[in-house]
């Protein structure tokens, strides 16, 4: 009975066992190393060759102000500093955001198929972007155009409508929320299809928006998107306790003293904000928000205290690597890469750890 005594010793957290602690430490290490490798590779590699020595000299020169002799062409500086670095960082922050938003939606809706786009975000953002591309008025400010603004607005509005219609604020069935999200999403998707049908020469742009890309990332864009995603991510990370309680069901959570309505609203708001900012910056990048949280759950279990930070960590490096694979051969849409690389790996994990997996 000694194992049992171990499990209930004072201070023990439910689900926290020495083996899990070791595994978590290993995963954190792997995640940090992967992130560092993704950052270095993302800056060093691209569809144009820049000598590694130049890259290192250039980055230390710009970052630390070291008085290095300028041996590189001006174009190399533009490529590394204006194109690759903001791009890698945007991919990382988007990966963090989408993974956390996915984890939040899955916990909130207690549905393993939930992802950041489940409540109509994707269709809302896509319709907003498509309409903005088709209307003959364009403006741009700090790297943000009408497309970004209206994609953001479309995503937020779609969720707001679903929230109002499904009375998610009340203690009722989650099924109705999901179905409302599905119905609103379908309606918006029909609007998108109609817009695409009538879009003429804009069709190609809308099509590639739907597949997602980081090719237009820039410092000004990152400067606007980063704070939004950072705040949303911070809010979700501090809501681990609420997410754990919600997994037990709304009633039980309420009996545990959780203000279910408020927590739902906070989580939903944060996840929606993140998703809207992510789609506004880089289009619809699927799979990351669905699969990264599941992957982490398979490895460490459903405890949100582990799930959330690890999802953020792996989301960042996964997205940075996916973007690297997308731009090495030219400019493939990154959404294709996330699915091609991610799906087989996820299937492998699913088969290996199948026993006893639950949300």
């Amino acid at each position: 009975m000694s194992t049992r005594a171990d499990a209930v010793r004072p201070g023990a957290v439910i689900g926290w066992r020495p083996r899990l602690a070791r595994r978590t430490a290993a995963l954190v290490t792997i995640g940090l190393v992967a992130l560092a490798v993704a950052l270095v590779a993302g800056v060093a590699l691209g569809n144009v060759y820049v000598a590694p020595a130049d890259t290192i000299a250039l980055v230390t020169h710009r970052l630390l102000g070291w008085p290095v002799e300028v041996t590189w062409p001006a174009s190399a500086e533009t490529i590394i500093w204006e194109l690759r670095l903001p791009r890698v960082l945007t991919a990382m922050i988007t990966g963090v955001g989408l993974a956390l938003a996915g984890a939040a939606f899955q916990g909130l809706l207690r549905n393993p198929l939930a992802d950041p786009f489940v409540l109509g975000t994707a269709s809302g953002a896509a319709l907003g972007a498509a309409l903005a591309l088709v209307v003959p008025v364009q403006f741009a400010l700090l790297g943000f155009g009408l497309v970004h603004v209206s994609a953001f607005a479309g995503a937020v509005l779609a969720v707001a409508v679903v929230y109002r219609l499904s009375r998610l604020g009340e203690l009722n069935s989650l099924t109705s929320v999901l179905l409302t999200g599905y119905a609103v999403g379908s309606l918006l998707a029909a609007g998108l299809a109609l817009t695409m049908y009538l879009s003429g020469s804009h069709l190609r742009q809308i099509f590639f928006y739907l597949l997602g890309s980081f090719s237009l990332s820039s410092w000004p864009q990152l400067a606007v998107g980063l704070p939004i995603i950072a705040v949303g991510s911070g809010v979700i990370l501090t809501r681990a306790r609420a997410l754990n309680a919600l997994l037990l069901g709304e009633e039980t959570a309420a009996h545990l003293g959780l203000d279910v309505r408020r927590e739902r609203l906070v989580l939903l708001g944060a996840a929606t904000l993140i998703t809207a900012a992510a789609v506004a910056m880089s289009g619809l990048i699927g799979f990351v928000g669905l699969v990264i949280p599941h992957l982490v759950r398979l490895l460490v279990g459903p405890n949100a205290r582990l799930l959330l930070p690890l999802s953020a960590l792996f989301g960042a490096s996964f997205m940075a690597f996916a973007d690297l694979f997308a731009r090495m051969p030219g400019e493939l849409p990154v959404g294709i890469i996330t699915a091609i690389v991610g799906a087989p790996f996820f299937l492998y994990l699913l088969r290996r750890y199948r026993s006893g997996y639950a949300l």
């Binding site: 691209g46 144009v48 174009s75 879009s199 003429g200 020469s201 804009h202 400019e331």
Partner: protein, 339 residues
């Protein structure tokens, strides 16, 4: 369908009405009514730095004739080569196919858009982009932010193709070559016009842009519809400038007398068209007036357009008294290969 040479119908972004364009149009005149040929004055030939206004109304400044040029559309590539500036091209698109040496240029534009790293690394003095969303507008903006000089070229009509050739000629400092090309094209266009005017018939023409999965036709007032009209036909169009597909019902009702197969280069030939259900009632099918054409020279807004118009006019009126085009592939004939 190869998007590279499809002149799409256009719900238009606001297009700057540019003085340079007007000037170029005056210079070049109208293809259909040949104008007085203006002699280029030495002053406008020699003047560097030059300030040019592109087809979107953006003003660019060129200190001297550009030595490193990137073309982001097959039409611009053709124009640059025709102007004798092919050796100054350092980057092109992955759909460049004419002249054959253009295919070897490093690809900067692909179907997805512009490879920005490539565009920057090639250190161009001038980037020739294509408007009407052929070069994604976001990419154009980003290239300008990164300090590149981008000239956006975009023709909606045959006349504007001519003025674009003049504009690119000014940008590349090849004004005389541009004037030569233009006078050649104008002469050929006038020839086609005279030949077309000599026959009174204006058959109803369906120019098939594509047929998989739906049937695609020119939109009203689109470039292809204009080309059909200039080639002596009455174009059958879709219902709206933003709609490409046309129903077979509408086609049967409008009853084309000639069907021009603009997708012949992609393997669509008369034999297959004849077997389509419902098509046997059309006059064109009964009269066997199904005419494959090489769409590249007809739809690509470049220096071969006059030959393209000649090819189209001959497809509509096979007995026309007109020199056959010097360019374009023979398609669907015995032994010919689809590209």
């Amino acid at each position: 369908m190869d998007a590279s040479h499809t002149q799409a119908p256009r719900p238009q972004p606001v297009r700057g009405f540019s003085i340079a364009l007007l000037a170029a149009a005056l210079l070049v005149g109208c293809a259909v009514q040949p104008p007085a040929e203006p002699a280029p004055t030495p002053a406008n030939l020699a003047a560097w730095p030059r300030t040019l206004t592109d087809d979107e109304g953006t003003t660019i400044e060129l200190a001297e004739p550009p030595e490193r040029v990137i073309s982001l559309s097959p039409a611009n590539t053709e124009i640059a080569f025709a102007l004798g500036a092919g050796d100054r091209l350092v980057g092109g698109t992955d759909f460049d196919d004419y002249p054959s040496e253009a295919a070897a240029l490093p690809d900067v534009a692909t179907f997805t858009g512009v490879l920005l790293e490539q565009a920057v690394a090639l250190e161009p003095d001038l980037v020739l982009a294509a408007g009407n969303n052929f070069t994604p507008p976001d990419d154009i903006e980003r290239m300008r932010e990164l300090g590149l000089t981008v000239l956006v070229v975009y023709a909606e009509t045959v006349d504007e193709v001519l003025s674009d050739i003049a504009l690119v000629g000014q940008a590349l400092g090849a004004d005389e070559q541009a004037a030569d090309i233009l006078s050649g094209m104008q002469a050929r266009l006038a020839e086609v016009q005279a030949a077309v005017e000599s026959v009174p018939e204006r058959p109803r023409v369906f120019y098939q842009i594509g047929s998989v999965p739906e049937i695609y036709a020119p939109a009203p007032d689109s470039f292809i519809a204009d080309m059909v009209a200039l080639g002596g036909g009455e174009p059958i169009t879709t219902t709206d400038p933003a709609v490409f597909s046309i129903s077979v019902e509408r086609l049967v009702e409008l009853d084309p007398e000639v069907i021009v197969l603009g997708d012949a280069a992609y393997g669509v030939c008369p034999a297959e068209v004849r077997t389509r259900p419902g098509w046997e009632s059309m006059t064109a099918v009964q009269a066997d007036a199904l005419r494959p054409v090489d769409d590249v020279i007809i739809t690509r807004p470049g220096p071969r357009l006059a030959e393209g118009l000649a090819a189209l006019a001959l497809a509509i009126h096979p007995t026309l008294d007109l020199q056959p085009p010097t360019d374009g592939a023979v398609l669907c004939a015995e032994g010919s290969l689809a590209r």
